[in-house]
């Protein structure tokens, strides 16, 4: 099958949706002739023109807020934030406006807003360019949160996000833009709330998402050599979360590890652990073990970043711990 880079797959999803639906409109900084800081919008300004691929000033509160107003009035805005780190600036527009308007107004308007934003560390980019804030948004009713780990998922999930009438925060891990994967020529979409079982196994369930999926799969191969058969579940969307697949897997393997890149407290891993504790505690034959970042801002120096962000070895050790080995 045809191979595409993750960023190309995203660009293709945007182009197809823009051709299909004239109301799909993009804006953000440097997304026009420049093609976006990560090359996702390359060629779109040339094809769709500056009325639908709009370079904005550096004004996050303004251009995300504009997305709320446009989404409420018949446009499907897909906004690119150059780094997710500054999603803090338009937080008001996302959390107090976009997420709540339909509900507060009694369901009389739609909010088909997509915000795309790169997350993640492992790049020595320092504390203000290495964040992953997915748990903040999963916390808020009215917002869906997408965290694709493959080019195939990136494309299929972005198309679904654009067609969704809710606010969707679409997080793209920076380490993934340059990875290649199979993407069919034919049209497809991927529904939200369906996790992918990346590797079937019987001994332990490892729930993960985004870039950690790749690392977990590599750990799973090492575990296999040690005679441990791990099942790897990639959440794909953290909100809605595929509770069924997680619970079914844990009922089969009786052991749960959750692996995420960022901090532990009140995070996605907290939610997965609580879900299993609430609904499948009796099936567990070992402690739930979480692999997360250590609780410090992501530091710049390689020796420090390596200490703060989770290592593959941490995932390996977590599996041994839940299995009592």
């Amino acid at each position: 099958m045809r191979q595409l880079f993750y960023n190309q797959a995203l660009g293709e999803a945007l182009a197809e949706e823009m051709r299909r639906d004239k109301t799909v409109t993009l804006w953000g900084i440097d997304i026009g002739p420049y093609g976006g800081a990560n090359g996702v919008t390359k060629g779109l300004w040339e094809e769709f023109g500056e009325a639908r691929v709009i370079d904005t000033p550096v004004a996050e509160l303004g251009y995300v807020g504009m997305g709320v107003g446009a989404a409420a009035t018949g446009i499907r805005p897909v906004i690119e934030l150059q780094f997710s780190d500054w999603i803090t600036l338009p937080m008001e527009m996302i959390v107090n406006q976009a997420a709540k308007m339909r509900y507060m107004f009694g369901g009389i308007l739609e909010m088909p807003l997509v915000i795309r934003a790169p997350i993640g560390g492992y790049l020595n980019a320092g504390a203000q360019h290495s964040n992953s804030f997915e748990s903040w948004f999963a916390f808020v009713p009215g917002i869906k949160v997408v965290v694709p780990s493959t080019p195939y998922d990136a494309k299929g999930l972005l198309k679904t996000a654009i067609r969704d009438n809710n606010t969707v925060i679409f997080f793209e891990h920076k380490k993934l833009y340059g990875i290649k994967g199979e993407v069919p020529e034919e049209e497809y979409t991927i529904p939200f709330g369906e996790a992918a079982i990346r590797r079937e196994g019987k001994d332990v369930t490892i729930v993960t998402y985004a870039y950690q999926t790749l690392r977990t799969l590599s750990v799973a191969e090492k575990l296999a050599k040690a005679g441990i058969d791990a099942e790897v579940i990639d959440l794909r969307t953290v909100k809605p979360m595929d509770e069924t697949r997680i619970l079914e897997s844990v009922k089969k393997t009786h052991h749960l590890v959750v692996a995420q890149e960022i901090w532990k407290t009140c995070s996605v891993s907290s939610e997965v652990a609580a879900l299993v504790a609430e609904q499948a505690l009796d099936y567990l034959d070992g402690p739930i073990v979480r692999v997360t970042a250590k609780e410090a801002p992501v530091p710049f120096s390689p020796s420090l970043e390596e200490e703060v962000l989770p290592k593959e070895q941490d995932i390996y050790d977590a599996v041994l711990k839940t299995l009592g080995r």
Partner: protein, 319 residues
């Protein structure tokens, strides 16, 4: 030119330091010696130096993602800066910050910043602090043309003006926010025009003329210190390099880049110093040689310094 000789030579030395530092960082980064990514200040030396020269050591500055020049202009040591860029324990911020986050409060440096426009309210807060404490300190806030379109700019300038805070807003207008030429996202030519809306003076200066920047900023700093309130100083300048090292610059016409490089700030200033009898060519060469030597030592210092011990990663999170 009513500027003391010592000050004039200090400005020359600091511009040279920035030039040498940034050029060295360019090479070291290309050679893969520096982790992360870097935004170079080459070409804009006169802005940082001219704006910091009127300041005292305990006056404040806030900086940007393109911050090395500001730190050097405020008196930052090349060795500790370079060590920070190398991610070493001896860096100004123990390797935790890196290129985009150098801070040194002892010299009033409240941090370079990874978030565009974040320094604007922080500098305004430092000015409020100075006013409340009646310390006589002034804050200089560096930001770019891109940041001037952020909400923080409006909110901060209004507050500073309303309370007559001791602050100077120094806008480095280098015409581009990453790839976006400012005329595509702003109708007015001069950002300084916005000062009218805040009831403060606004001045436009040639940001490649260190004397012009100094004179405008000196007046603004004196005004701020006297309690008369803030000023917006817009410096027209240009960055020689792409937005960050490694970026392919497809968005600026090569002739434009060439023209600005020809208008570089240091050589004409050298000429001026010699013509006005401030210093001989030999004296300037001695300053240059000393800077080059200091630069060499800074790189050696950084290279020889240890990486921070992994366990220090969890220090400094909490008071």
């Amino acid at each position: 030119m009513n500027i003391p000789r010592e000050k004039l030579l200090m400005m020359y030395e600091r511009m040279l330091k920035i030039r040498e530092f940034e050029d060295r960082v360019r090479v070291l980064f290309a050679e893969g010696e520096l982790p992360g990514f870097v935004h170079l200040y080459l070409g804009e030396e006169a802005v940082a130096v001219g704006a910091c020269a009127p300041l005292n050591d305990d006056d404040y500055i806030t900086s940007t993602h393109r911050g090395h020049g500001h730190i050097i202009a405020k008196g930052g040591e090349l060795d500790r800066m370079m060590a920070e860029l190398y991610g070493r324990a001896t860096g100004y911020n123990k390797g935790k910050g890196g290129s985009m986050h150098i801070a040194y409060p002892k010299l009033g440096i409240l941090g370079a910043n990874g978030i565009v426009s974040a320094g604007i309210p922080i500098a305004t807060g430092a000015a409020m602090s100075a006013k409340v404490r009646k310390s006589g300190q002034v804050a200089v806030c560096f930001f770019g043309d891109g940041a001037s379109n952020e909400g923080t700019f409006h909110e901060s300038l209004n507050i500073a003006s309303a309370y007559s805070l001791p602050i100077v807003y120094v806008c480095e207008n280098n015409l581009y926010a990453v790839s976006t030429r400012q005329s595509r996202v702003r109708k007015i030519e001069d950002i300084a025009d916005r000062s009218i809306g805040y009831g403060m003076p606004g001045v436009v200066v040639d940001g490649n003329d260190v004397v012009a920047v100094f004179e405008a900023c000196k007046e603004a700093v004196d005004r701020a210190r006297s309690g008369a309130g803030p000023t917006l100083v817009e410096c027209k300048t240009y960055r020689w390099r792409a937005h960050f090292e490694g970026e392919v610059d497809t968005y600026r016409p090569p002739e434009e880049v060439e023209a600005w490089i020809k208008r570089e700030p240091i050589a004409p200033y050298e000429k001026l110093l010699v013509q006005q009898g401030i210093a001989s060519e030999a004296e300037l060469k001695a300053i240059k040689d000393a800077v080059i030597k200091e630069m060499e030592e800074a790189v050696e210092f950084a290279r020889k310094s240890p990486f921070p011990a992994p366990e220090t990663a969890l220090e400094d999170v909490w008071a």
